[in-house]
């Protein structure tokens, strides 16, 4: 029982990192990325092949490249980095058509294609079997399952905290405001000189980096990397979880992911099969679909809406503007006399 709880928490922390990343892309920047798991998979893969070292089983069972034996923190960082670069490449691909439906179908298609390539390519990816000799990090080789899980949980929480800090800093900044404006109405944002692509690329890439980090943690925890875990459906489910939880609010994203991605999956694992083995998986998916449609229909801002987040933090500076800014203000603004206003215009 204890293991169940700790396992739930560890996977929950990892999934929350993904949630925050996707929230940054979709919730804050309004970019529809239907293949988030691709970046998780990329991060996981990079973490694996940079830390696995020489193969321990004959090549007929498992083949992979690099075969480096770097320390796991390096593998972790590389995972995030490569995922970020991959995200950058994707964005550059669609940069001239950052329309939501275009993005949606291109991202989905990229996900499918990559899966197609990965499962067919033995030398690089070991095909559909995936990689399974991934070493434990820290003292995992000798520690008990619970100990290892707690270690992974601790590391994940640290990374999660960092990701939440990033999401929060962005949300409370002018950058976050520009993202929200672009999300609400691109034409208006452009009409005030905001750079549509320049602004959103950054958020997208950071979201991918988070996905990569989550992937690395996942692979360190599960010590296996299997393409089946990164199917297109998983990306859809993650997206659904974010939308239900509250797309504009990173806590909502965490909640949605915890409940719908993780909890439902894990609960299914621990209960005996009810009749047909398909039933649970199908039931879960139908449940998510129905809730998704219901939420979009009746509570579109999600369970935890964006407005519960504080728009502005304390900007830091005291009462008045600093020296050079004061003269900038005086020089540029027209002399508006507050006396002109005739009460509230309430027509």
């Amino acid at each position: 029982m204890l293991f169940f709880i700790v396992d739930l928490l560890a996977l929950g922390a990892i999934n929350s990192i993904m949630a925050v990343g996707l929230n940054l892309q979709y919730g804050q920047a309004g970019i529809l990325n239907f293949t988030y798991y691709t970046f998780v998979a990329i991060g996981a893969y990079v973490a694996a092949v940079t830390t696995m070292g020489k193969p321990k089983v004959p090549p007929s069972l498992e083949q992979y490249v690099l075969q480096w034996n770097l320390p796991w923190p390096v593998g972790l960082l590389l995972a995030g980095l490569v995922a970020g670069v991959a995200g950058l490449l994707l964005v550059l691909l669609v940069i001239r058509r950052l329309r939501s439906d275009y993005l949606a179908i291109v991202t989905v298609s990229v996900g499918f294609i990559l899966w197609n390539i990965v499962t067919n390519d033995i030398p690089l990816f070991n095909g559909a079997n995936g990689l399974f000799s991934i070493p434990y990090i820290l003292n995992g080789q000798t520690a008990s399952a619970i100990e290892y899980t707690v270690e992974i949980l601790a590391i994940s929480l640290v990374i999660l905290a960092a990701c939440v800090w990033v999401a929060r800093s962005i949300f409370r900044s002018p950058y976050g405001r520009v993202l929200r404006a672009i999300r609400e109405d691109e034409v208006v944002a452009a009409s005030f000189g905001k750079s549509l692509t320049g602004s959103r690329v950054g958020a997208f890439v950071i979201g991918c980096v988070m996905g990569g980090l989550a992937g690395a943690l996942l692979v360190f925890y599960l010590t296996a990397w299997n393409p089946a875990a990164f199917l297109a459906e998983e990306s859809f489910i993650l997206m659904a979880a974010i939308v239900i939880g509250g797309p504009g609010n990173y806590w909502g994203a965490v909640l949605g992911t915890f409940v719908f991605v993780e909890f439902l999956t894990e609960i299914a694992r621990y209960f005996p099969n009810v009749g047909n083995g398909d039933l649970i998986g199908a039931g879960r998916a139908i449940f998510i679909g129905v809730v998704l449609i219901a939420v979009v229909r009746f509570r579109p801002e999600g369970l935890v809406p964006e407005r519960w987040l504080h728009w502005y933090g304390r900007p830091g500076a005291g009462a008045g503007p600093a020296g050079p800014l004061r003269s900038w203000r005086r020089r540029r603004s027209p002399q508006l006399s507050a006396g002109d206003a005739q009460g509230t215009a309430d027509a």
């Binding site: 962005i170 520009v178 929200r180 900007p315 206003a341």
Partner: protein, 256 residues
């Protein structure tokens, strides 16, 4: 300040703007009027960079800006309002205004994460200015309301405040008083005069002659994609061509 030369634009097969040329003088309010379908809104879209003209030039302070795109035109100093108000409905009114300010230090990813001290001061200044503007249009009490909950007239005022926040050199007002009560229309007219009084050049599209009379020094009349007449409102109203255009295709409304 703004010079349009032989602008043409066709939607598919039909020519919305067919050879339009005029200039907008510095520091004045110029009105743009014409019956429905005259091409006014299309022309404004071309000026604002939303559409690239099939031919012709838009010259702003000596620089050709046609086809550069909305963002570039906005950064050059031309700011517009929209015929159907486009407020950012889910964001608070104050945020709607603050976002419009140009050259914000905190607007990059890097700055948002690591340079908080640099932009925090500017942020305070901008918020103060936004509050002033909201106060000036009378929307102060609504600063935290989502912009989508405002009434039509309030949204028009919000768009004006937002446009001013962007420190425009040229302000394009697309039907700024359409669909509002006379009292608000009056307020808007007064505000526009005040804006011009501060030295900001204004180009106003309007249908309502009386409104235009209060706001514009000079009027350009368009019909069927061309400029028909130019001059003070009184002269233009009596111009034969103008009368024909209105009586032929629509109604010339003299009063509100």
């Amino acid at each position: 300040m703004l010079e349009l030369a032989d602008i043409e634009f066709a939607y598919g097969g039909s020519k919305a703007v067919a050879g339009c040329s005029f200039t907008v003088a510095d520091g004045l309010a110029t009105g743009l009027i014409g019956p429905n379908g005259a091409g006014k809104s299309t022309l404004i879209e071309v000026i604002a960079g939303g559409l690239a003209p099939d031919c012709g030039r838009v010259v702003f302070n000596g620089v050709e800006i046609q086809g550069l795109g909305r963002a570039a035109v906005a950064r050059a100093g031309i700011i517009r309002t929209f015929q159907t108000t486009r407020e950012l409905a889910h964001l608070p009114v104050l945020e709607n205004v603050v976002v419009a300010a140009p050259d914000q230090l905190g607007e990059s990813l890097f700055a948002s994460l690591f340079l908080r001290r640099r932009w925090a001061a500017q942020e305070a200044v901008l918020r103060e200015r936004a509050e002033e503007l909201l106060d000036w249009v009378g929307l102060s009490k609504l600063r935290s309301e989502p912009a989508g909950s405002l009434s039509g007239g309030q949204r028009r005022l919000l768009e004006i405040a937002r446009a001013l926040m962007a420190q425009p050199k040229l302000l394009l007002l697309d039907e700024p008083s359409a669909g509002v009560y006379p009292a608000v229309r009056q307020l808007i007219a007064e505000r526009i005069r005040a804006i011009v009084g501060q030295g900001i050049t204004v180009l106003v599209i309007a249908h309502n002659m009386a409104f235009l009379g209060e706001v514009a020094d000079d009027v350009v009349v368009m019909a069927e994609g061309r400029v028909l007449a130019r001059g003070a409102l009184e002269e233009v109203r009596r111009d034969q061509l103008v009368v024909a255009a209105y009586l032929g295709g629509g109604q010339m409304r003299g009063t509100s």
